[in-house]
Symmetry: C2
Subunit: 343 residues, 2 copies
DNA sequence: AATTTTGATGAAAACGCTTACAATACTGGT
DNA sequence: ACCAGTATTGTAAGCGTTTTCATCAAAATT
């Protein structure tokens, strides 16, 4: 079927001009006479001609296309980043296309630079540390990729890499979250964190410890656990904390890795007969759409993902080698309340 | 920066062979002596050589890349489709990349076939009818696109187009949903539907009417409304129904367009003092991850989106011109219950 | 009217691969 | 040692654009 695709030659012949002229018309160059332009445009319309980006990219070495790679789409908040990036790109005349994580690193842990082969004008990579993709492989892939196109990183940026990036200041976020909870009277605060790179500022556990210290609260190791960012894992994680402790020692507030995990916590809490926020306060992170519709509505950190996507495109296109911080704000809803008065 | 990107010539020179040989090694052809192969591979490794997909695509007219275009990513269920498609593609040696809806139709309603310019090996298009993209423009875009690459449609397929497709049998789904609710004793069932193409089988309202008829229930026009697929719109839609009717005439069950809308219904119900499912039963559609974590957990239709994504790739690659039906199943949770006994 | 300037067009060489097809280097059988 | 047959390698012609440079006609200047 893709046989009849017309080329610039077909158009040129049919319009009785040279291919150079067709090329000029297609790219909207000025120096073509009105008459010729109209003639050519007519033929283009009638043949539904669409110049090949491949050929264009080859000869001009620009594709006006960016790439974005996201770890998983099962977390709706990556979708937000994509949406933001996509809008910004479009408004600047660029096209953006999303590549799965495997185009960077395949499931066997090899670098699989499908991405590099496309010779894009740049790529945004949203890095999430998981046990599988830490360290070596990731770093090698990124370095190799970078020799092919400009790269902007979002999220957790490995210490040793000096890339333009927009980073999450997770330590600070968690620290302030702890503050927020202590103001509500909580002293037994648990943290369900993730794997968070080697960079202090992107580590929740670092901020957690700081937060506790700020308020002279002891660090209780069974209050800090790590898990993956899914509801199931969240549920298990809280189960583990609660089942391992006498009720008297149960935390009164939990900081979750993200909203998905928070949803899992809701279920675990229910199972253990805890009402939110009366017996247990829960705080999420990301502010995904559903967060507002849980009951009780989830108090969480809005990570402004759309804005983040936009800024990433911006950074990529301006070409400066900067590291910026992502914005965020706490959104208070109903899942955090005053510490329960146990009698 | 993207200056130093090595070409096949660089590799050839450095390895002391011809470019044809390098090409053979890169593509893993058999007929290269072991010695040569190793020599070339070493150079490829050391230079981090990644052949240009552009050049490759041009000369071979295959890219081993598929496209997928989804209307919006704000509905997590599209993410599921992508995930499924992505996995299936990979297992068949293809790469898949996602394009935003604007690469098909731009916001001004013009066809913007960025997609066509990439000369992909095929593309999956997930069609959602909205007031903006109905009819003409969409159809013209699809037709034009199809002359460039094979197309498989998912979702609501315009009547007049004979494309290979996997369609939702919405009419049947809604009809059976009505049955399910009548078995619980409901007689006042509302439908919050969407814009659903011109095809009977993809129209919820058609199935709704059939369902009512099956059970000899009257059609009450204020019970049927249309809305867009967001929580906000859902909330408004139910508000409108409830506010427009005396409580005695309020529906006892509502069928929602999708789970996002259902979440909006929860909020509206709460606002009107209705408890779910005691006063009002709610049924969603899609079975997004969050659905299971609402309280009460949402009874919904699992649209098996991952499987759908896989099947779409399958259909695209097998090249047959078939129309299939998407699978689905009702998942019972807590949001639907027996009809309230009003005294 | 002759000359210069300007504007519109065309010819041809890249761009980095694949892929016939041709050429060469081996192999084993005599 | 010779030849056919086979395995390996190289040559060169595309693929569909952009872009530089040259050409040519028309308009502007003298």
């Amino acid at each position: 079927m893709p046989e009849g695709t017309p080329t610039i030659y077909d158009i040129a012949r049919e319009a009785g001009v040279s291919i150079a002229t067709v090329s000029r018309v297609v790219r909207g160059e000025e120096n073509v006479s009105k008459k010729t332009r109209e003639k050519v445009q007519a033929v283009i319309q009638s043949r539904n001609f669409m110049p090949s980006s491949l050929a264009r990219g080859m000869s001009s070495r620009r594709s006006y296309t960016l790439g974005i790679v996201l770890p998983r789409l099962t977390n709706p908040n990556y979708a937000e980043i994509f949406t933001g990036a996509s809008e910004e790109a479009r408004s600047r005349g660029y096209h953006i296309s999303m590549f799965p994580w495997q185009s960077l690193i395949d499931p066997q842990g090899n670098q699989a630079l499908t991405l590099a082969s496309w010779r894009l004008d740049g790529v945004i990579i949203c890095v999430e540390y998981t046990p599988e993709n830490q360290g070596e492989t990731l770093i090698r892939s990124l370095e190799a990729l970078r020799s092919y196109m400009p790269v902007v990183l979002i999220g957790c940026v490995p210490q040793c890499l000096q890339y333009p990036a927009i980073t999450y200041h997770m330590a600070e976020i968690v620290r302030q979250s702890v503050s927020y909870l202590t103001e509500l009277g909580h002293e037994k605060i648990a943290l369900i964190g993730g794997m968070e790179a080697d960079q202090d500022e992107s580590r929740r556990d670092v901020g957690y410890l700081e937060g506790l210290a700020d308020h002279k609260l002891p660090f209780i190791s069974s209050y800090r656990v790590f898990c993956r960012g899914t509801p199931e894992e969240g549920e298990k994680a809280l189960d583990a904390i609660l089942d391992g402790l006498m009720p008297a020692y149960w935390p009164t507030a939990v900081l979750a890795l993200n909203d998905l995990v928070a949803m899992g916590l809701y279920r675990s809490a229910k199972k253990h007969g805890l009402s939110i926020p009366n017996d247990l306060s829960i705080m999420g992170c990301d502010n995904i759409v559903s967060a507002a519709y849980l009951s009780p509505a989830l108090t969480t950190i809005d990570m402004c993902q759309q804005a983040l996507g936009k800024r990433a495109v911006d950074l990529l296109l301006c070409g400066e080698d900067m590291r910026q911080r992502a914005e965020w704000k706490l959104v208070e809803r109903e899942s955090c309340g005053p510490v329960p008065q146990r009698l």
